[in-house]
Symmetry: C2
Subunit: 480 residues, 2 copies
């Protein structure tokens, strides 16, 4: 019989977060390392979370008339170079295919770091008239960005999975409306699926997407004192349509360049969720993304057949939920409790001979450890209720954490102290890149995250760094 210590998480989240994270992702069967540096296996437990997110998001896209397609993995070098800012942003981290078999290729091929260039080559053939617009296409695929920094599974890996939406609109307004609509959808994915509160806003000029007119993002702040960008929705303006010749005849028979957007959400989101909700026992999964909502652990004593039969009856009552009955005989109930806690299953359902006598089960919440005695007749309602509680409790706890770790200040001494104390800062800012660079240097790495949309029209404050009149309020923090 395996010993319990073999499988437990031995690092504390608050003490050694890096070791804690490394243990959780492996011991909860999320990730396997491979011999390709920076590329990991998404094991079924992790992939299934991604499938849940995909399912939700795909339905939402279809409601909006967005259609899925698939474009080539490879982008010829000349094509990648067509938009100058774009290639500058991406070429340092492009993986290049130079040979096929023993043959050297005439032109090297980029493994897509993102698909603007390969997609827009086709778009220029498809867009002719205002009647072809909006053109709304999405793809679910893998992308490669050869990071030279230390990889962090899910958050910074050389290959990851994502969706990338690429659209063309007849007017700037239509494009911009979509940018914000998709950003709202990303907020929904984070807040209602992953139970992770996010801040919506606009990226600074320095931090915007390479080639975009402007970039919007959702950002959050993690228990390790670092912020992270959750997803981005870019308005590309006419930069790419001019570079790729995406033109159309408008209703007045005039030639116009298309207004374009691109927007993406990746498997990075899984890492954010792990870091936000996980605890010293392992992963804590929000019910709305959990591959299993509950696991039934039978406690046999000497009445195995009887207990198993009852456990199966409970499972049948709960067939509308994704649940599993862990009837393995080679492990003790205690070992199973630990394992399923480590894997983050929202609710554990225990049933033993004494429970059967009373026609009841014990339900245990993963987030709080709270136990409930539940009559057979009420298991369905109670499980649904507990899952709701867990989902909102995780969200509320995360929200409280972020609020407690956000310092609003107009004072530079306070600003720098907050960053040193691993907090996030909300401060007025002149919106100049020079000042942004200076802050980064003086704080040991704090970057601008984003600028909220609903700022007061008139900002009276001064930028605490340079003293000039502030143009915006902005979030700042060290970040992943």
């Amino acid at each position: 019989m395996a010993e319990e210590k073999d499988i437990g998480i031995t690092a504390k989240k608050s003490e050694n977060h890096s070791e804690w994270y490394t243990q959780v992702i492996q011991k909860a069967d999320l990730i396997e390392y491979t011999s390709v540096s920076g590329c990991m296996v998404f094991r079924p437990w992790a992939y299934s979370i991604w499938e849940n997110v995909k399912k939700f998001f795909d339905i939402e896209l279809k409601k909006r008339g967005v259609k899925n397609a698939y474009f080539p993995l490879f982008i010829p070098e000349t094509l990648l170079k067509k938009e100058s800012q774009h290639v500058e942003g991406f070429s340092p981290e492009v993986a290049w295919v130079t040979h096929a078999g023993n043959t050297k290729l005439n032109e090297k091929l980029a493994v897509r770091p993102t698909s603007e260039t390969i997609m827009y080559e086709s778009y220029s053939k498809w867009v002719r008239s205002y009647r072809d617009l909006p053109l709304l296409i999405n793809q679910w695929c893998n992308v490669v960005r050869w990071e030279f920094d230390n990889p962090v599974p899910f958050l910074r890996t050389r290959e990851f999975l994502w969706q990338e939406g690429h659209t063309v609109h007849a007017t700037q307004k239509s494009a911009e409306d979509e940018v914000y609509d998709i950003l709202d959808l990303y907020k929904t994915v984070f807040e209602e699926l992953y139970a992770v509160p996010v801040m919506k806003g606009r990226k600074s000029e320095k931090e915007k997407f390479a080639g975009a007119l402007f970039t919007t993002s959702v950002e959050t702040f993690l228990p390790f004192g670092k912020a992270i960008q959750g997803a981005t929705s870019h308005c590309l303006g006419q930069n790419f349509s001019k570079a790729f010749d995406i033109k159309f005849l408008d209703e007045n028979e005039k030639t116009q360049y298309g207004w374009q957007n691109s927007w993406g959400l990746s498997t990075r989101t899984i890492g954010i969720m792990i870091m936000m909700h996980g605890d010293d026992k392992g992963l804590v999964l929000p019910p709305n993304v959990a591959p299993l909502k509950a696991v039934i652990v039978p406690i046999f004593y000497k009445e195995k057949d009887k207990v198993l039969a009852e456990a199966n009856r409970i499972k049948e009552r709960l067939k509308d939920f994704d649940i599993e009955l862990d009837d393995r005989e080679e492990y003790t109930p205690g070992w199973k409790f630990n394992q399923w806690e480590m894997k983050g299953v929202p609710v554990r359902i225990e049933i033993g001979p004494k429970d059967i006598e009373k026609q009841q089960v014990v339900m245990v919440r993963r987030d709080t450890g709270e136990k409930s005695i539940v009559k057979y007749t009420e298991v369905k309602e109670k499980l649904a209720e507990l899952l709701d509680y867990i989902q909102s409790n995780l969200f509320e706890n995360a929200k409280k954490f972020i609020e407690e770790n956000t310092v609003e200040t107009k004072d530079w001494a306070e600003f720098i102290k907050a960053i040193k104390d691993k907090k996030m800062v909300y401060a007025p800012w002149c919106a100049e890149t020079e000042c942004e660079d200076w802050v980064k240097e003086k704080t040991g790495g704090a970057k601008t995250l984003n600028i909220p949309f609903n700022l007061p029209k008139k900002i009276d404050e001064k930028c605490p760094h340079c003293g000039k009149p502030a143009k915006v309020w902005c979030y700042f923090a060290r970040s992943y």
Copy 2:
């Protein structure tokens, strides 16, 4: 107003099949060519067919306990080389990543042509005990095989999409049972979704997968006189488990090597369907994979608002089906008829002022052109019925075509004439590779397809090529 001739297929399927195919895949909005030679865009119309197949297949896999995961795109050269037959089979067509940004990599990385090696590296860490088995994992992904022959969209492209299942079993029997079960599932995909009849069988030693113990396949024969392999299910035996050290302790605490399978179905299937069912008007889609089951084309005359209102009511009655109302005003009904026929939508529903008077619509079958007058109250039942008819009619026609083009013979003169006449041959065979090579040479390219499973125990015939006693009956044809 666009002219009808602009959009129609101008080549005849029976006269110039290559030009016909090239027109259909482009004009039916399935494929776009790109500047990456051999790599094409799967446009939404094609991708949606693949989504329908994925959905069906994924549910079937989940019923069997197979879990989805995702493994890295890149495979280090040393890892790819671990199984000697395997690397021999694949290395001539591997795309190699040699640089990242401006940095030369220490070891070149293969873009996966298939994932045995990268997956089994992990499997060796996961399999310890018979209790870990069977290990049943699948992934949906892109793969790259750098074909130097002329690419044929869908059928032979340098990048394609597929699922690859990779499993480990404790016993040979468990592995073999799965090989045949999955092969049956592939047959179901072809016959019940794509309406394409297939022959199940075992590949010859020469044609088996590089590194497999044996390979099973489904094959079919296309209207252009060429056969094609539809999908393969391989029993890898212990070849890879020995190369990758995938071992487990059995119930008697003895160390055993795992028995492995791999099996795959790709976007090639879409091309097979197009070639099998398409006609001189374009694509013909079997209802079970069609993105749209029917399209409603309103015929306005001077009563636009009225007709549109009624058309919308019909659409509402048919909301359980994937259908579309084509209310574009800039095109004539005739233009729309042609376009939807070209795109292969199974049923067209026409409604005009005269139909409204009689509370009826006209339904037109794409496969036969047959028209039915249908009362409003019966549209739902009638559409369901027509879709069933179309699905089975396409299958029956294809079956008849294959039967009429298969020549069973024990005579070499007949054999060679049949191949010359672009038929498929079913003949006894000594099962020697030498004889297989000789046939290929003498017939100008006819290869063995597969050997059916249910052969008589005793075969009295002689091999018509070499005259030695035949060991099997086998299908032979020129093939893609």
